[in-house]
């Protein structure tokens, strides 16, 4: 039997300290937490940085390092620093060393790195070892060379290799959300279907239970299934909350692809052990013929400047769409003329907040609000060009009249200067898998003895 303590869905989202204490009292065999996701967009992978504040990360990680020392079991984090690039791993490693020094802890740290060299990925592409997943974008050697970061998602095999070093703390780069939880039960030869299914149920912490923000859950794995126990006093896992969690952020509610195979929960059975704990059996693991890992990549595709102006005049609010379309057309023509640009070199978009900023042409509601926020978005090849275009747009947003012969209107800007630099714009450009002869081929492992 293996017990995995999961403090929360991600480091940086906080966890209930009392619930963590109760989790430790269950005598877990490992503490596992996810450190990231693609869910906040391509900028983190593009830049190789964390989404969460360093201070929050340090406070929460320190709590887990103290818990680890108390429990005497390994602590593992997957997808360190939101994106799991080597730079993000090094960022968390530095925080870990700082905390270890401050606490006077002597720790053995295993670092699993997932960043890929562009040239290696281009070579794999040319060798036909990279395959598209459904709705993958087109790739080319040029696009792959352009990526500021490419990571491969480690699975249970690579986490197992890290655990086998006997490390106290494992800082892993990009991994699947589930691998850090599934690895230890798999190492112990427990049921593979249960290992992966339990990992999927636990990967978001207490999101598989009531009171999801309490964070902490314990998943207990054995030879035939697993059981789920939320640790917060007022949190309950029920067959419904647990089985419904397979739906979460997963395009297929029955199947989950992982390195080396897939999980099939079509026939899984969910039984209430009591009012707050659930047991799951009959989950199936189906090994694949080839060992593949998923790739993620992001590349710089331009620079943006945004601006915000408020319409409150009744006539302008009523005619906001006409007003915005007229500005977009006139300003785009002026930019092309004055900066000698082609239409493909830049874009100017005005989104009407309060009218249809969420869905654009798909919006079916049509009531007229009393005010509208106009979000101007300028995208161009360079930062300097985006700033220039933002400045050409400004006089329109300040004074553009609905008709030529009316008195010049003026609109409300909340800021000076009105243009806000968003900096580099990144795009996700890989939804592919990479075939590997050996699971460690795309990953590296380093062991550091600290203190």
């Amino acid at each position: 039997m293996v017990k995995v303590l999961i403090p929360s869905g991600a480091l940086g989202l906080n966890y209930d300290k009392d619930a963590l204490e109760r989790g430790l009292a269950q005598r877990p065999d490992i503490i596992a937490i996810d450190g990231g996701s693609t869910d906040s967009g391509p900028a983190y992978l593009g830049r190789g940085v964390s989404k969460y504040s360093r201070a929050s990360t340090k406070i929460e990680w320190q709590g887990l390092m103290e818990a680890r020392a108390k429990a005497g079991v390994p602590l593992v984090i997957g997808t360190a620093g939101t994106c799991g690039t080597d730079s993000a791993v090094d960022w968390l490693l530095e925080i870990t060393r700082e905390i270890a020094c401050e606490l006077g802890q002597t720790v053995k740290i295993a670092v699993l790195r997932s960043s890929q060299k562009n040239s290696d990925i281009i070579k794999s592409h040319q060798q036909g070892r990279i395959h598209p997943l459904p709705n993958a974008p087109e790739i080319s050697p040029e696009i792959l060379a352009d990526c500021s970061n490419i990571v491969a998602l480690a699975g249970a095999e690579q986490i197992t290799a890290a655990l086998e070093t006997g490390a106290d703390i494992i800082i892993a780069g990009r991994t699947t959300d589930t691998a850090i939880i599934a690895a230890l039960p798999l190492m112990h030869g427990l049921d593979a279907g249960a290992a992966w299914h339990g990992a999927k149920i636990g990967e978001c912490g207490a999101l598989c239970a009531t009171n999801p923000q309490s964070g902490v859950v314990v998943i207990e794995f054995d030879n035939t299934g697993f059981s789920v126990s939320p640790m917060a006093e007022n949190a309950r896992a029920t067959p419904h909350t647990v089985s419904a969690h397979m739906l979460y952020e997963n395009s297929d509610p029955h199947i989950l692809f992982e390195p080396g195979g897939h999980l099939d929960v079509t026939d899984a059975e969910y039984t209430a052990l009591d009012a707050r704990r659930v047991r799951v059996t009959r989950s199936k693991w189906v090994p694949s013929q080839h060992y593949t890992v998923k790739l993620e990549g992001a590349r710089l595709v331009g620079f943006q400047v945004v601006t915000l102006v408020l319409l409150r005049d009744e006539r302008y609010v009523q005619n906001a769409a006409i007003w915005a379309a007229d500005i977009q057309q006139k300003c785009s023509a002026k930019v092309a003329d004055r900066l000698k640009l082609q239409p493909d070199d830049f874009s100017i978009e005005l989104r009407l907040i309060g009218q249809n900023a969420s869905f654009g042409a798909l919006e079916h509601q049509s009531s007229v609000p009393f005010e509208i926020g106009v979000l101007g978005i300028v995208t161009a090849r360079t930062n300097a060009l985006a700033k220039e275009i933002g400045k050409i747009l400004n006089p329109y947003l300040l004074h553009h009249p609905l008709t030529p012969d009316e008195e010049q209107p003026t609109f409300a800007f909340p800021f000076s200067p009105p243009e806000m630099e968003r900096g580099a714009l990144y795009a996700f450009c890989l939804n592919h898998v990479l075939e590997l002869a050996d699971p460690m081929d795309a990953f590296s492992l380093e062991v550091i003895n600290h203190g």
Binding site: T38, S40, P42, A43, P134, A244, S251, V301, S358, F359
Partner: protein, 100 residues
Amino acid sequence: MVKLGRICEKIRSKNAGPFWLTIDIFCGSEDVFARVTARLGTDDIAHLLGADPTLMKRFDIASLNVIKISLPRPEIQGSVRDRDMHGASWAALIQEFKIA
């Protein structure tokens, strides 16, 4: 005619990775599940979301009284035209859809 959001327990939408969007309609009871599965066509949802119905995956899960619909993201997450980084707003269009 009644809005789906009025009769269902919860309707949520979320990214399933940067390239897919998934929508979960929690009907809350067998009766509502039977009504919604009978009256809500996959084409209706495709039309609401401006999506290609042939690329949509639909799962009617009776054990949970849930209808799950997954589709290629209307705009890739974080691309210039994307309006919703987490894909969270799309549920609103489904909530406001009226069925008999």
